[in-house]
């Protein structure tokens, strides 16, 4: 049995989680203090994902802060960043507005501020 130790990144508490794995299957998850942590640990040992936050340029040169609507596979972050950097949007942009559908598998690119 293999034990993987993780620090949960879901919230500022930073729980230290232990995941026991045998033959590629999770046997137990210990140390999390909420269901989000449990889900994080499950994902983290198999296919770690991160929400990407960055900016895109508006056509008028301004910056629009954005995030992915869900986690992006950690290994694909730089590929996604390249796609995001190529995006140009028209202002005004509203907070919560989807700027690009499916920027990565299953996740959209969403504006996180209203930019006039």
């Amino acid at each position: 049995m293999e034990i993987k130790r993780l620090v949960c990144v879901e919230c500022p508490v930073g729980c230290e989680i232990e995941v026991a794995i045998e033959n590629g299957a999770i046997q137990s998850i210990k140390g999390n203090s909420c269901p989000r942590g449990y889900k994080y640990a499950q994902e983290e040992v198999i296919a770690p994902k991160r929400i990407v936050t960055t900016t895109v340029r508006a056509e008028n040169g301004k910056l629009v802060p954005v995030k992915t609507s869900g986690g992006v596979l950690k290994d694909e972050i730089f590929a996604v960043m390249e796609k995001i950097n190529a995006v140009r949007v028209k202002t005004p942009v509203l907070v919560g507005q989807t700027l690009v559908k499916e920027i990565a598998e299953g996740v959209d690119l969403v504006a996180t501020a209203t930019i006039g």
Binding site: T55, V56, R57, L63, I84, N85, A86
Partner: protein
């Protein structure tokens, strides 16, 4: 063809340039950096010395005294902050007390007025934070402080307002004698013609002298300083010196005209214009400051910096015409009290030296005044609102630590000599000089410079040449 080419944009070069514009002459100043005041005039103690230090009969003694008497008027004409706070040379032992006596006698011989020895009680009454070990002091009421970079910038600006030219990033490589004068060439290929030349190149004045066949030995001595926040203003009321001992002079602790407290300098021999700070140097300053005063508020440190003082082997000012090349004059080895002496040196160089090669004819249009370099925050509400009505950019604070408005920064970029980089803006307006050291306002200052000069933001530098601040746009 210029009548005079001044080499070096320090306080000596700046004040000589200004002095020259009092006459009908075509003059210019060449400076190797992106702004004037980039050498030792930028990083020194800013002290207007009373004049008891220099050996009687030396050039230093003579020009110190004359300069001290001229400084208030020059500062006032140029709108530069000057304050006649007086200085104290502090003794910590009987032996040092006798050194005070020697200094007093020398000062009197040099012509310094008002010198007085204070006893322990009076000293402690005048400086409440002085170390309890301090036993006596020599009080010089004519000692003062001035802002060295404002003085230099204002002198050059006033000269430009009166018709002088300024050539920046002009690093002199060659000086050749021609039929009617001299050709001065820069490393980048630019060349200027002049009838005469004044060498005020500070640490580089030996190199300039060598270009015309003279040998002047100029060495550098590095001094490190610590600057405390205005919050510690009033910690000392006068400029405090240690009494000179065989071990050297020690450091000074002084208020600055802007209300900060300055501690330093150390003294370390260096070959070139090296202005790196060192851990050991800063330690030395702290150690000596603790000897001078109780509870030095080091927690209010804003920054530490170093400057190089150029000195000549003979430790006196060298003010003379070249032995080899007629029409070239050297001002070299201008170490302390050079800042104090500067106005007197400038007058001397023009009236007594250059006059032997040029006809001096009064410039009737000369104005000695530069619009006082006011700080917005020092104005009355009526004055502020008047200004804002005319130019709303005065209604926007950019540097929150020092309370500097956008209008002041725009003015610094526009007026003579124009501030072309963020350090130049800082020296003129104090934006970025406060406790956050530009953390908040740097990007805004850059934007203002970029707008005013019509360049891209990426082209704005900290101090010219390759000192770019940002590297291109994201995405």
């Amino acid at each position: 063809m210029y009548d005079v080419i001044v080499v070096g944009g320090g306080v000596i070069g700046g004040l000589i340039l200004r002095e020259l514009t009092k006459y009908n002459l075509r003059v210019c100043l060449v400076e190797k950096a992106n702004d004037v005041c980039m050498g030792q005039s930028k990083a020194n103690s800013g002290i207007v010395h009373a004049g008891y230090d220099a050996k009687t009969g030396t050039q230093k003694a003579k020009f110190n005294l004359l300069g001290n008497r001229m400084m208030e008027k020059v500062a006032q004409e140029l709108g530069v902050k000057y304050s006649n706070i007086g200085s104290l040379v502090v003794a910590f032992s009987e032996e040092e007390c006798s050194a005070l006596q020697t200094l007093k006698e020398r000062g009197e011989k040099n012509g310094v007025s008002g010198l007085r020895i204070l006893d322990r009680e009076e000293l402690h009454r005048m400086e409440e934070n002085i170390s309890s070990e301090a036993v006596a002091a020599l009080y010089a009421p004519t000692g003062g402080i001035v802002c060295p970079y404002s003085l230099t910038v204002a002198a050059v600006g006033n000269a430009m307002d009166n018709g002088a030219d300024l050539h920046l990033l002009f690093e002199v490589e060659k000086i050749e004698k021609t039929e009617n004068g001299l050709t001065v060439s820069a490393k980048d290929g630019r060349a200027l013609q002049g009838k005469t030349l004044v060498n005020c190149a500070g640490i580089k004045s030996g190199e300039i002298a060598a270009m015309v066949g003279d040998e002047i030995n100029v060495n550098g001595r590095k001094g490190e300083y610590i600057l405390l926040d205005r919050e510690s203003g009033g910690f000392v009321k006068h400029t405090l010196f240690f009494a000179p001992t065989e071990k050297g002079k020690g450091i000074l602790i002084s208020p600055t005209v802007d209300g900060n407290v300055l501690l330093g300098p150390t003294a370390e021999e260096v070959d070139d214009g090296n202005t790196e700070t060192s851990g050991a140097g800063i330690e030395t300053v702290m150690e000596k400051a603790r000897k001078m005063c109780k509870n030095v508020p080091f927690f209010n440190t804003i920054t530490s910096f170093a400057g190089t003082r150029a000195y000549a082997a003979e430790h006196d000012f060298i003010l003379r015409e070249s032995e080899r090349t007629e029409g070239v004059f050297h001002c070299a080895g201008i170490e302390s009290p050079g800042l104090t002496a500067a106005p007197a040196i400038a007058e001397h160089v023009v009236k007594n030296l250059l006059s032997t090669r040029l006809k001096l004819e009064k410039n009737k249009n000369f104005s000695p005044y530069r619009k006082a370099d006011y700080f917005f925050k020092d104005l009355s509400r009526e004055e502020k609102n008047e200004l804002i009505k005319k130019d709303p950019s005065y209604g926007k604070i950019v540097c929150r630590c020092e309370g500097i408005t956008e209008g002041e920064i725009r003015r610094a970029v526009r007026e003579n000599p124009p501030a072309l980089d963020t350090d130049a803006v800082k020296r003129r307006t104090r934006a970025g000089m406060g406790r956050c050291q530009g953390g908040f306002c740097q990007s805004q200052v850059m934007e203002i410079i970029a707008q005013e000069r019509g360049v891209a933001l990426e082209e704005v530098t900290k101090k010219g040449k390759n000192s770019y601040i940002i590297r291109g746009r994201t995405k």
